[in-house]
Amino acid sequence: MAQPAFVSQLDPDRAEFYRHLLRQMLLVRRFEERAGEAYAQGRIGGFCHLYIGQEAVAVGALTALRKDDYVFASYREHAHAIVQGTSVSTVMAELFGRAGGCSGGKGGSMHLFDVGHNFLGGHGIVGSHLPLAAGAGFAIKYRDTDQVVICFFGEAAVNIGAFHETLNMAALWGLPVVFLCENNRYGMGTALERAAAVYDVYRRACSYDMAEETVDGMDVLAVHEATTRAVERARVERLPTLIEARTYRYMGHSMADPIHGHYRTKEELEEQKQKDPILDLQVRMAEGNLLDDGALRVMKQAVEEEIDAAMAFAEQSPEPAPEALFTDVYRE
């Protein structure tokens, strides 16, 4: 069922937690902005899909998980890796294609991996990681642990066969997977309404008798609460959930694409930016006297330093050795 976007008053006792959410969103935002600059300078190559505008989804959702849960994401996954615990340094180094990158410089922006933090990619074929996530969920059921899998994907992925086959199996077999659709309204230049017969992504759960929920993806607390409910359902009842988080992407589809143009207007973009997820939390915390300007300044400063360090690490990290071309094709 659709949940009210309403979110409980901020609870003073959770100030620490709110600060954590805010810091994570700031970290992601600044990481992406700096990555964008580096890309513009030609220091990052290939396709680079930024997450700016969607921070509340990854931060709200991943903070609802346990360390031993598994995370799968698409190619727009810098944020998910970082929030899951992968160091910004190794993520930035991966974008630079360096040996110190979290995928050894072989994966790049679209293929971040960090088994140490159960971050399992970084997948470039739309929809292809949904069955993979179900596979991890199957392994959890097979081993009878109480872990959970969360799988992030865009709204354009719901029209592809893998979505249908996966959700059916997950519901049929009772797999502990949270399918979190980040509905930012566009798949490249195609608005959801031009690609899907049903505009409410969460309603697609009806074909599988699967629990569903839609949530304001610009409200980090709402996302956190919705995900917490779904994670509980997966952990305790071992049932999957389809969550639709309504969000928005500020940048172009990738650094190679226009920010607006044929498919959306500058006005729409500017209007959306008024509902910025970071500003929103800042304001609410300020209203609740849980954050003063000084603390915010300190936080931003710390974030900036963390990214500076990541940049330095990435630049100093060596290129992979030439032999690396031929390693990791097969495991001996």
């Binding site: 396709f47 490249m188 071309l325 094709v329």
Partner: protein
């Protein structure tokens, strides 16, 4: 003669064929409103409207099948894959529906469809986005496979592919879209199955197609300048049907052969070429045929590793030295 980019040459071919034949339409992801992910379809939506320039959901299997179904009842669809990497999801429709329909129906139902889009590697797109599948499609009876190297060939071959009554796999190159070349004003087509000698020579034959034609030509220039070796560069243009006659006659003249391709070595296009050459020109060969291919690994993201994974003039020259026993 005006010079055009490979991109605009394709755009012209689509435009001309859609004007010529109302049963031709273009369907794929982002081909309309977005003007094409690589802008090959720029302006076509405005010119022909949404019924003939159709944006699809991300559903490769589905819209590829829609194309085959529309062809079954007489339309002539051009189905664009944003890249051929994604066509793996649709491959059942190409292999089990498109390629077999005429045969299974005892000759009743031809499938005049073109599947097109960029194949192979661009720059740092990593493993899942940097694959060349020529040899896969060429393996399938019922499919034709075309991979043009120049704007001139791209236009002439796409027009022929659209008029062909069989399913045609048309492989373009993201790295080729900006390549410029002469394209005649007057209408022309190029037959499928005809290779083209891009440079004449007498000492060694270099077989290539698509992006590797430029690589082979660079190598040929340097071979002439640096080693006084005269290389003949044969551009296959069409992989299936393969122009075995053109290949064999060149090798019979040069007695030496190098095959260059972007894809992986095992069972690649070059393997088939080697098979044909050693059968057709066994007694004329003065050295084994040597192949230059993409490295036998998933494509790495890192720029230097990626460069090392791709065929380049140095590798071609090294191969030529081997077949001419110059080292």
């Amino acid at each position: 003669m005006p010079t055009l980019t490979y991109r605009d040459a394709l755009n012209q071919a689509l435009r001309e064929e859609m004007e010529r034949d109302p049963s031709v339409f273009l369907m794929g992801e982002e081909v309309g409103v977005y003007q094409g992910a690589y802008k090959v379809s720029r302006g076509l939506l405005e010119a022909f409207g949404p019924l003939r320039v159709v944006d699809t959901p991300i559903a490769e299997l589905g819209f590829a099948g829609v194309g085959v179904g529309a062809a079954m009842v007489g339309l002539r669809p051009v189905i664009e894959f944003m890249t051929w990497n994604f066509a793996l999801l649709a491959i059942d429709q190409l292999v089990n529906s498109a390629a077999k329909m005429l045969y299974m129906s005892g000759g009743q139902i031809p499938i005049p469809v073109v599947f097109r889009g960029p194949g192979g590697a661009a720059l740092q797109l990593a493993a899942q986005h940097s694959q060349a599948f020529e040899s896969w499609y060429a393996h399938i009876p019922g499919l034709k496979v075309v991979a043009p190297a120049t704007p001139h060939d791209a236009k002439g071959l796409l027009k022929t592919a659209i008029r062909d009554d069989n399913p045609v796999v048309f492989l373009e190159g993201e790295m080729l879209y900006n390549a410029k070349g002469d394209v005649p004003d007057e209408e022309y087509t190029i037959p499928l199955g005809a290779a083209d000698v891009k440079r004449e020579g007498g000492d060694v034959t270099i077989i290539c197609h698509s992006k590797t034609v430029a690589v082979a030509l660079k190598a040929a220039t340097r071979l002439a300048e640096e080693l006084g070796v005269s290389a003949e560069v044969v551009d296959l243009r069409t992989i299936r049907p393969l122009d075995t006659a053109a290949i064999a006659s060149s090798v019979r003249k040069t007695n030496r052969c190098v095959v260059v391709e972007e894809g992986w070595p095992f069972c690649g296009v070059g393997a088939q070429v080697v098979d044909e050459v050693q059968r057709e020109a066994f007694d004329d060969l003065d050295a084994p045929v040597i192949r230059v291919t993409g490295a036998d690994v998933p494509m790495p993201y890192n720029k230097q590793l990626e460069r090392a994974a791709k065929p380049d003039p140095d590798k071609v020259i090294a191969a030529v030295k081997r077949v001419t026993y110059l080292d």
